[in-house]
């Protein structure tokens, strides 16, 4: 699909693969936005929720794929469904609430009724009004493919899209290394708030931008015990992994934290001992033995020293699994969240953020997670509110003819190679923080835009 834009330029003009630069125009352009909706969001697997949000038969949640509304539900026989939230009859919105439990969905316009799987169930005056022998199978709500991975619900409109595991590719191991550590549940509904920015500003930042933390979040060094001048304390020395599928993770180093938590006695510990000293985000020490049953010794070695922590799942999802400071400025707890950046036109996106705890988490632990979700994360968080200060400017500055041709630069090249004993795949970059994983995100983005995405039939 070699698409030209209406001003005569070509999509491939917007990326300079040799110098690793992207035209800022892609962050605020109506035409490119429309192409994205078609070539990316109608084709990729999109995160739409977590199984714990719909635990019972009949439960549903109303969500979005790209900009379009969908209903995710648990039908009879526990079957998962994802259907377009637009009536097959005259296009009205069928489900008009965020969540609930219902045996069917009834459109308010003419009263057509649908089963959870989208199939037509009936309509008012059906006998009198419908033609005899009317084939109602063509009246179904539009259905998306649904699949889960570690209880995270994904959906895609593309019948030809690869299976979810293939779509995740090498990243599947890292995703399981976070959401497969124990059985997680959401803690309440997601935070949802709107940014006056393009969805890609946040999505590509999550794909490995460790560099910004020491500067944009420099206020942390005034308030927390962080050495401003030590690059290691700003995640600038942590391994990063990028996969050919455009997903990525930074594996934050835990060894120093474990050493401090163990009061200096952090050497020669087994993975299980390390995990007991510093349970992974969302978990408490009681859940650690169960985690040990789910992974091999070699896997636990990585998960207890350099676990995947900040992740980007192409196109627009992110994970934050890390320690989090408490208000005394000295002690820390841990925090796990999943986010999606849902496009709302080229210059706005909806930020959704779920917080997670182990399914059997204690009330006290849940309370600490609520505290962190407010204190440092999301709209009220003293860390993330500063991220929201840069995304709108980047978007605004991409709109004009001059700013639009400004080139975003990804020049830092890392040292690729797996450290000994690394138990998983992907391109592993060690040494000082590089731009490789963010650049990998952009390569995947352009592959979709230009219709060359690996794993998809063209």
């Amino acid at each position: 699909m070699n698409q030209n834009l209406s001003d005569g330029s070509h999509l491939s003009d917007l990326i300079d693969r040799e110098n690793r630069e992207i035209h800022q125009r892609v962050l605020n352009d109506d035409e490119i936005h429309k192409i994205e909706m078609q070539t990316i969001f109608a084709r990729t697997w999109n995160i739409v929720g977590h199984l714990s949000e719909i635990p019972n038969v009949g439960d549903f949640i109303a969500r979005q794929i790209g900009e379009e509304p969908v209903i995710i539900s648990r039908g009879r026989d526990n079957q998962l469904n994802c259907v377009l939230n637009a009536c097959s009859h005259r296009g009205a919105t069928v489900c008009r609430e965020d969540a609930g439990n219902s045996s069917v969905f009834r459109c308010i316009y003419h009263g057509w009724v649908f089963n959870h799987d989208g199939s037509f169930r009936g309509a008012p005056y059906q006998e009198q009004l419908f033609p005899k022998d009317c084939d109602t199978s063509r009246f179904s709500l539009k259905r998306a493919r649904v699949a889960t991975f570690c209880d995270i619900i994904f959906a895609t409109w593309d019948e030809q899209a690869p299976e979810l595991e293939a779509y995740l590719g090498d990243f599947a191991w890292y995703l399981r290394g976070i959401f497969g550590r124990c059985d997680y549940k959401v803690l309440g509904p997601p935070h949802q708030f709107v940014q006056k920015a393009n969805w890609k500003t946040a999505s590509e930042q999550f794909a490995g931008d460790a560099y910004h933390a020491s500067q944009l979040h420099r206020s942390l060094a005034d308030l927390l015990p962080i050495d401003r001048n030590d690059p290691a304390r700003w995640s600038l020395c942590d391994p990063k992994v990028g996969t050919d599928e455009g997903h990525s993770t930074i594996c934050f180093d835990q060894v120093e934290r474990i050493r401090r938590a163990a009061k200096g006695d952090g050497e020669n510990l087994t993975p299980l001992e390390r995990l007991t000293i510093l349970p992974p985000p969302g978990m408490t020490v009681e859940q650690v033995p169960e985690m040990a049953k789910r992974f091999s010794e070699q896997e636990l070695e990585l998960l207890s020293t350099n676990p995947p922590s900040q992740c980007a799942i192409f196109p627009n999802a992110a994970i934050w699994s890390n320690s989090a400071p408490l208000p005394d400025g000295r002690s820390f707890t841990s925090y796990l969240s999943l986010r999606v950046h849902l496009p709302c036109g080229p210059d706005k996106f909806k930020f959704m953020m779920w917080s997670f705890v182990a399914a059997d988490a204690s009330p006290e632990y849940c309370e600490s997670v609520r505290q962190v979700a407010s204190f440092s994360q999301g709209a009220t968080g003293f860390v993330e509110m500063d991220d929201a200060e840069v995304w709108p400017g980047i978007t605004h500055n991409g709109k004009g003819p001059v700013g639009g041709s400004n080139r975003l630069k990804y020049p830092f090249i890392g040292k690729e190679g797996k450290p000994e004993g690394w138990p998983a795949g992907g391109h592993v970059y060690t040494g000082y923080s590089s731009d490789d994983t963010q650049w990998g995100w952009w390569l995947r983005y352009f592959d979709f835009l230009e219709g060359n995405a690996k794993g998809y039939d063209q």
């Binding site: 965020d98 609930g100 709107v194 206020s219 005034d222 208000p327 400025g329 505290q371 500063d386």
Partner: protein
């Protein structure tokens, strides 16, 4: 269902309302003046001064809301809050705004105008503890943007008159929004 089942959300609170205090009453005026002075401090960006109005044990929170059809259940969720703050966490955030010089979400400071109406005061069965509810509209102007953001809410405050100066011991903010239209809550409500 403008404010559904507020009482249910507060079932864990150990107080009950005893009588409504009319607006002609001196206590009503005292409590309303207190909230007006509070707004003067917040609008004036005098955040450290604002902290002094809060009880050391304050719980300051804003439950997350979801859209439900009438009669289909609670809209406000007990499991997750926007704000979920204590005095130490509020102090930390205010210190960041006022002392670090790099709290970008608060610098340049959002220009917030708070308009309060419908102050309703109840006496409770706890000595010196009053429940005060109020409607609040915040107009937020950032930088050189020529449109303002608005946030509206009903606030449910517990205010103690036991101490020499009045103190807010609990504030619950029932936002009218399920999806917040502001990029961050870098200001207090």
């Amino acid at each position: 269902m403008s404010q559904p089942q507020l009482s249910q959300l507060h079932r864990t609170l150990d107080y009950t309302l005893t009588e409504r205090i009319p607006s002609s009453h001196e206590t009503y005026c005292q409590l309303q003046d207190f909230l007006i002075d509070e707004i003067e401090l917040l609008d004036g960006d005098q955040l450290t001064g604002w902290l002094d109005l809060l009880d050391d044990g304050i719980f300051y929170h804003a439950p997350v809301r979801i859209t439900r059809l009438r009669g289909k259940g609670e809209q406000f969720h007990r499991d997750m809050n926007w704000f979920h703050e204590t005095k130490p966490s509020l102090s930390f955030k205010i210190k960041r705004f006022e002392e670090t010089g790099s709290a970008w979400a608060g610098d340049p400071a959002p220009r917030v105008r708070r308009l309060m109406t419908n102050v309703v005061v109840h006496k409770t069965d706890v000595d010196g503890l009053f429940q005060v509810t109020s409607n609040i509209l915040l107009s937020i102007s950032r930088g050189n943007e020529f449109t303002v953001d608005t946030v509206t809410a009903k606030r449910l405050d517990l205010i103690s008159t036991e101490t020499q100066t009045l103190k807010i011991t609990r504030r619950t903010i029932y936002l009218d929004h399920t999806i917040l239209g502001v990029p961050s809550l870098s200001f207090f409500i």
